[in-house]
Amino acid sequence: MSGKDRIAVFPSRMAQTTMKSRLAGAQKGHSLLKKKADALTLRFRAILKKIIETKVLMGEVMKEAAFSAAQAKFVIGDFNHVVLQNVTKAQTKVRSKKDNVAGVTLPVFEHYGDGSDSYELAGLARGGQQVSKIKKNYAKAVELLVELASLQTSFITLDEVIKITNRRVNAIEYVIIPRIERTLQYIITELDEREREEFFRLKKVQGKKKAIKAIAEIKRLELKALGVDVDNPADMLKDTHEDEDLLF
């Protein structure tokens, strides 16, 4: 993991507050994303269950439809080409709508019938009952197929989105937040150290000042001993030295 570094920032109080607010933001974002991921996973599992049910049903429906095709063939003979040649436009069409789940738009397909039945008179002289049965069976199969298609596209889309969201959640949890925390840590340690340095400096300065004061005191006492008046400061007015005029 390349997260051993921290954000390059000049350690200051303001940086510290900034980092603190960033951490709060990251944590909020993490919890929100986690909620989104959970909602998506819930929906994902529901879709998975539905897909399994639909696929099993599909198997049965297709078997039924294929059998009714065999029955129709028994009575009518080979009617494949009759159906194929009479195709003009689609009788069942598919519309796609959008469904929104936790911010993810999923496509949903619904079928609708369009136009009248162009095979109404097929099998008029032979096998009309079989033809209507097979029409019903295959219509049911097509409906199921459309439903299955819509379920599967949502499955795939959801899968992608869940992966992305989980990646983001993990990134925040294991990279961003630790990094911010480390930065915060660093700032705090730097600030502490600076305080300590400051403290030390102050102490040193104080010590030095004390030493200078001590020396000055000794000098003063010496001067005092010599008779120089050191208690009162020098009076400028008494001093009658003529200073030279300053000429520029």
Binding site: A70, F74, D78, L124, A125
Partner: protein
């Protein structure tokens, strides 16, 4: 006079009748069907078929076998046999055999008309045509754009032209639903065939007229039943009933007025054989459907045709029985392939 025709029959058609009876002997029996029904896979089926008259017809097919391959090969055998018979036939048998092919020709023409209307390339359509119904002008169909053009340019030269003339005018061709054209043609064909057989006289007329009358009545019943709930009006429906059956004229008039299944059944009550067929039929699971009963009756009539000698009906019956056999085998094959053994016994037993 029947006596004379029997004497002279063998001169022209003796060899062919013998051939057909030989072919008929090879039709699958109940035993064979029992064996086929026991098969678990299509390869088992192929094995069982090898011991019948079909022999090694599937020998060169690559595995895995599919039902459509079996279907094609079975049909091919029938086509080969029929064409052999046709090639050796002379008048009047050759015209009779041509009449048999007209029904396939009608299906082919309808297929070509629909395909041309929807601008499909002709090369796609030709392989889908039934081989028994091919005619010389088939390749030329694509030059026409509308059915009316098609008729004027091409169909007028085929043997089916008279059927078009009798009942469909040029405008009708363009407007009518393709199924209605198909059924109108078939009606004209049946009536014409019936007239021809009656002219032939003798045992042929006896046997064939009965079979064709049944076919006509069966079509009338089925068209009526299937047209409930569709946009087909009663008048249009009445125009599709072939008039060469027992139902003409009263039964057909009654059928034309019928609105539901019970009324159709009531019409059938007046005719002894049809009453029987409607009695056993129903739509509940476990019942035979009406179509199944019709098939059984047709098979019975066709088998009875072989009881008499020196007539052409045997050829027609052989073709129909062989077709039914192909349908039976394909049905059993589908049930085996789809592992749906519930209704595997719903084939129509022939012998």
């Amino acid at each position: 006079m029947t006596g004379l025709s029997e004497l002279y029959f063998n001169i022209d058609s003796g060899y062919l009748e013998g051939l057909v009876r030989g072919f008929k002997g090879g039709i699958l029996k109940q035993n064979d069907y029992l064996n086929l029904v026991q098969c678990e896979t299509l390869d088992d089926l192929k094995l069982h078929l090898q011991s019948t008259d079909y022999g090694n017809f599937l020998a060169n097919e690559p595995s895995p076998l599919t039902v459509s391959v079996i279907d094609d090969k079975l049909k091919e055998k029938l086509v080969v046999e029929f064409q052999h018979i046709r090639n050796h036939a002379v008048e009047p048998l050759s015209t009779f055999l041509d009449y048999i092919t007209y029904s396939y020709m009608i299906d082919n023409i309808i297929l070509l008309i629909t395909g041309t209307l929807h601008s499909r390339p002709i090369t796609e359509l030709i392989p889908k045509c039934h081989p028994l119904g091919s005619f010389e002008e088939m390749e030329a169909i694509h030059i026409a754009g509308t059915p009316a053009e098609l008729y004027n340019a091409v169909l007028v030269d085929t043997p089916l032209a008279p059927f078009f003339v009798d009942c469909i005018s040029e405008q009708d061709l363009d407007e009518m639903n393709i199924e209605i054209i198909r059924n109108t043609l078939y009606k004209a064909y049946l009536e014409d065939f019936h007239v021809y057989c009656s002219e032939l006289g003798g045992a042929t007329a006896e046997v064939m007229c009965e079979i064709l009358a049944f076919e006509a009545d069966r079509r009338a019943f089925i068209i009526t039943i299937n047209s409930f709930g569709t946009e087909l009006t009663k008048d249009d429906r009445a125009k599709l009933y072939p008039r060469c059956g027992k139902l003409h004229p009263d039964g057909l008039a009654a059928l034309a007025r019928a609105d539901e299944y019970e009324q159709v059944r009531a019409v059938a009550e007046f005719y002894a054989e049809y009453k029987q067929l409607f009695d056993g039929a129903g739509n509940n699971p476990g019942d035979k459907t009406l179509e199944d009963k019709f098939f059984e009756h047709e098979v019975k009539l066709n088998v009875n045709a072989f009881m008499q000698q020196f007539h052409f009906g045997v050829f027609y019956s052989y073709v129909k029985l062989k077709e039914q056999e192909v349908r039976n085998i394909v049905w059993i094959a589908e049930c085996v392939a789809q592992r749906h053994r519930a209704k595997i016994d719903s084939y129509i037993p022939i012998l």
